[in-house]
C-alpha cells in the first residue's frame, strides 16, 4: 500500500528525521492561509500516488499567499497519470545547496532491507542503477542485527565529504531504517535529501510503501489508506477479500488463483481482446465470493462479457458450478457469461452448468476465444 508524501513525512518525523513543516489542505483558500502562516516562498505539491508529479505540473513554487491560492486551484482537481488530486501539501521552500538520494527497499535476492544511496538527488534510482551503478552505494541490512552504526556511516560517507554532513546523514539513514521496520514498509525513499547553505541535512520529499501483509497489526497505518485515490471497485474488492486490479479492456475476468488469472488475461490479449481486470476469487466455491466478484466486474461499464476460468483442484468442479449458479441467481446480470471449468469432476460440472443454461467449456483457449468474440460483437 502506498501512502502519501505527507503521511510518509509524518512517519519520518516520528523517528527524528529532519523534515520541514507542512500542512495538507484541500482548498485554495486553505492553501493561502497556510502560505501566509509560513511566510516567504512555499512549495505546493499534489498528494497523489504517482511519480512524475513535477513534470505533470503538480508541484509549484509560490512566492506569496495569493500565488499559492492560484496554484492550489490549478493543482486541485488536476489529473496526474489518471489520478485526481484532491489534497495538496504546502511547505516552506528550502534553500538547497546539494541534493542526494537515500532509499531502502526489501530486496528479494538479499532477502533483506537493502539501502541504495547516491550523491545525486532527484534521480530515478532504477535508471541510475542501470546506467551508472558506480554512482550508487548499496548495502543489505542483516535482519538478525539490524542497521549497524558503521554501516550507516559507510552509506553516509558516500554522500558527503564534510564530517558534519556525514554525521547528520548517518543519523538520518539509521532513522530511515527504524521508520522502515517500524512501519512494516516494503520501500522508503528520501529523494532528494538536501543540504542547505547553512550545512543542514533535511528530507524534503518522502515516499513510502507498506507491506499489505503488515496492515493487520498496524491499524494506525492501515487507516492511512486513501481510497479516493483508487477506483471504487478496487476498494470494494479489498473489502470482500478479493485480489482485483482494474484495467482498461472489456473482457471481465473471474479466475481462481493469481497465476491462472494472469495467464487468462494474457490469453485474452493473445486472442485479440482486452482484459477488463485482474481478479482472483481464491480457492473456495463460496457463492458469496462469486456474487461479490460479479458485482465488482459488472460495476465497470466497459465490461461486455464475463469470463470465468476455474481450475477445480481440491475444490471439486461440481461444487464450483453450483456456487456459480447460486451466485448468478442472486444477482441481475445482463451480460453474457462464459465459463470454463476443468479438473476434478469436470464432466459433472459441465452438465450442471448446461442444465442451468450457462455456456460451459473445459478448454481455456476455447473459452477465452469465445469471450473475446462476444466482447467484439457487443
Amino acid at each position: 500500500m502506498d501512502i502519501h508524501e505527507y503521511q510518509a513525512k509524518e512517519c519520518f518525523r516520528s523517528v527524528g528525521i529532519p523534515v520541514p513543516p507542512g500542512r495538507v489542505v484541500g482548498t485554495p483558500e486553505e492553501a493561502e492561509v497556510a502560505a501566509e502562516k509560513y511566510g516567504g516562498t512555499v512549495v505546493i505539491k499534489a498528494q497523489v500516488h504517482s511519480g512524475g508529479r513535477g513534470k505533470a505540473g503538480g508541484v509549484k513554487l509560490a512566492k506569496h499567499p495569493v500565488e499559492a491560492r492560484d496554484y492550489a486551484s490549478q493543482i486541485l482537481g488536476m489529473d496526474i497519470n489518471g489520478l485526481s488530486v484532491d489534497k495538496i501539501l504546502i511547505t516552506p521552500a528550502e534553500d538547497i545547496d546539494t541534493e542526494a538520494y537515500v532509499g531502502v527497499l526489501l530486496d528479494r535476492k538479499a532477502q533483506a532491507a537493502t539501502f541504495m544511496v547516491s550523491p545525486e538527488g532527484g534521480i530515478d534510482i532504477e535508471e541510475v542503477a542501470r546506467t551508472s551503478p558506480s554512482a550508487i552505494r548499496k548495502l543489505s541490512v542483516d535482519p538478525r542485527y539490524g542497521m549497524l552504526p558503521h554501516q550507516a556511516y559507510w552509506l553516509a560517507s558516500f554522500l558527503y565529504d564534510d564530517p558534519n554532513l556525514v554525521n547528520q546523514a548517518r543519523k538520518i539513514i539509521a532513522q530511515l531504517y527504524d521508520a522502515f521496520v517500524g512501519s512494516g514498509a516494503s520501500m522508503a525513499e528520501i529523494n532528494p535529501l538536501i543540504t542547505t547553505p547553512a550545512g543542514v541535512v533535511k528530507a524534503i520529499d518522502a515516499k513510502m510503501s507498506i507491506d499489505d501483509s503488515e496492515l493487520f497489526r498496524r491499524p494506525e497505518i492501515a487507516e492511512m489508506r486513501d481510497t479516493s485515490s483508487e477506483p471504487p471497485s478496487e476498494t470494494k474488492a479489498r473489502e470482500a477479500g478479493l485480489s482485483y486490479v482494474k484495467l482498461e479492456g472489456d473482457v471481465g475476468c473471474c479466475v481462481n488463483g493469481a497465476g491462472l488469472a494472469m495467464a487468462t488475461m494474457d490469453l485474452v490479449k493473445y486472442y485479440g481482446g482486452e482484459p477488463a481486470n485482474f481478479l482472483d476469487i481464491g480457492g473456495s466455491s463460496n457463492p458469496d465470493k462469486v456474487v461479490a466478484a460479479l458485482e465488482i466486474i459488472t460495476s465497470d461499464p466497459k465490461v461486455k462479457v464475463i469470463l470465468f476460468n476455474i481450475f477445480g483442484g481440491i475444490t471439486r468442479c461440481d461444487d464450483v458450478a453450483n456456487g456459480i449458479i447460486e451466485a448468478t441467481e442472486n444477482i441481475d446480470i445482463e451480460l453474457p457469461i462464459v465459463i470454463r471449468l476443468t479438473g476434478t469432476n469436470e464432466d459433472l460440472a459441465l452438465k450442471i452448468l448446461e442444465d442451468a443454461g450457462l455456456s460451459a467449456y473445459t478448454s481455456m483457449d476455447e473459452v477465452v476465444e469465445k469471450a473475446v468474440e462476444l466482447a467484439g460483437a457487443a
Binding site: L106, R108, K109, Q111, A112, A113, D124, E126, D142, P143, R144, V181, G184, S186, D211, D212, S213, E214, F216, R217, S243, V245, L247, V255, N256, G257, A258, G259, L260, A261, M262, A263, M265, D266, L267, V268, K269, Y270, P275, F278, D280, G283, F311, G313, I314, T342, G343, T344, S363, M364, D365
Partner: protein, 294 residues
C-alpha cells in the same frame, strides 16, 4: 526417484486442527503421505482422526513432535500472524524441509525466518505456496493429488492453479511427473527456481522440466542463466503476466513489476536467450515438451 519428498518422507502438520490444516491433512493421508504428527498448542495428547479410521498424534510443540515421531518435514497451515513463528519453531526443532503454505505473512517476518532457517541449514519451501507432490509417493501441501501421474517430467512454478493447469495438461497428454513443486508467490521465498532445477538435473528419473514463472523479481532470469550453464535436460518455460500493468500487485505479493524490471517480456526474452523453450499459451507446454523430448 523424485526431489525433496518421497515415500519415506515423515510429515508433521503445524496447525493440524485448523480448518485448512485438518482438511488438507486428510487429503494428504488419503493420498498416501506419511503424516506422523500434528502440532496445535494446547491440543497436545489428543489424536487427529484421518481417513479410514487412521489417526495421528497431536503435540503442543514441534520440539516434542519431532522427537517423538522422527518427522523430517513440516507443513504449515497456521494463520499469517503466527506463521513466521511456526517456521522458526520447525527450524529449531530440526526438520529438514519446511513447507509454508500460509499466504500473507509479513515480509519482514520472513526475512528473519529465512535467516534463522539458513543459520540452521533447514530448507524452506514458500511461503504462499501450494507445496509439492511426488506422484505415487507423497504430497505435502495443497496440490490436488488426482491431477498428477507418475512419470518423467519435473514441474516447478511460482503459482498454484496455473501449475494445476499445466500439470493436468501433462497428465492428460500422458506425461507424468517426478515431482511438482510450487515455490510460492511471495517476494522472499526459501527455495528458488535454481535450487529446484539443480535437484531435477540430479534426479535420474527426471528427463525434462517445466518452469512456470510470472512477473516480478529476477528469479526466472537467474534460473535461465543457470539452465544454460548447468542443465543437460530440456526446459520448457511459461511466464504469466504479459498484460499486467507496472506497479500493481497481481494477487501474489511477489507479482509486481517495479519500474521497468520484472516484466514478462524481459523474462521471456531471457528464457529464449538461454535455450528455454517458451510456451506463449499454457496449451503450448505439452507440444514444446514433446518436441524437446523427441
Amino acid at each position: 526417484m523424485a526431489i525433496l519428498i518421497d515415500s519415506d518422507t515423515r510429515v508433521v502438520v503445524q496447525g493440524i486442527t485448523g480448518r485448512d490444516g485438518s482438511f488438507h491433512t486428510r487429503e494428504m493421508m488419503a493420498y498416501g503421505t506419511r503424516v506422523v504428527a500434528g502440532v496445535t498448542p494446547g491440543k497436545g495428547s489428543q489424536m487427529f482422526e484421518g481417513p479410514n479410521g487412521s489417526s495421528v498424534p497431536i503435540f503442543n510443540g514441534m520440539d516434542e513432535a519431532v522427537r517423538e515421531t522422527g518427522a523430517d518435514t513440516s507443513v504449515i497451515y497456521v494463520p499469517p500472524r503466527f506463521a513466521a513463528g511456526a517456521i522458526l519453531e520447525a527450524a529449531e526443532a530440526g526438520v529438514d524441509l519446511i513447507v509454508a503454505i500460509t499466504e500473507g505473512i509479513p515480509v519482514l517476518d520472513m526475512a528473519r525466518a529465512h535467516a534463522f532457517a539458513r543459520d540452521r541449514g533447514v530448507r524452506v519451501l514458500g511461503p504462499n505456496c501450494p507445496g509439492l507432490i511426488s506422484p505415487g509417493k507423497s504430497k505435502v501441501g495443497i496440490l490436488p493429488g488426482q491431477i498428477v501421474a507418475e512419470g518423467p517430467i519435473g514441474v516447478v512454478s511460482r503459482s498454484g492453479t496455473l501449475t494445476y493447469e499445466a500439470v493436468f495438461q501433462l497428465t492428460t497428454a500422458g506425461l507424468g511427473q517426478t515431482t511438482c513443486v510450487g515455490i510460492g508467490g511471495d517476494p522472499l521465498i526459501g527455495t528458488n527456481f535454481i535450487s529446484c532445477l539443480e535437484a531435477f538435473e540430479e534426479d535420474s528419473e527426471t528427463t525434462a522440466v517445466v518452469m512456470i514463472g510470472e512477473i516480478g523479481g529476477t528469479d526466472e532470469q537467474e534460473a535461465a542463466a543457470y539452465v544454460k550453464e548447468n542443465m543437460s535436460k530440456p526446459v520448457v518455460g511459461f511466464i504469466a503476466g504479459q498484460t499486467a500493468p507496472p506497479g500493481r500487485r497481481m494477487g501474489h505479493a511477489g507479482a509486481i513489476i517495479s519500474g521497468s524490471s520484472g516484466t514478462a517480456e524481459e523474462k521471456i526474452r531471457v528464457f529464449n536467450e538461454n535455450g528455454i523453450s517458451v510456451a506463449i499459451r499454457p496449451a503450448d507446454i505439452v507440444g514444446l515438451l514433446k518436441s524437446r523430448l523427441a
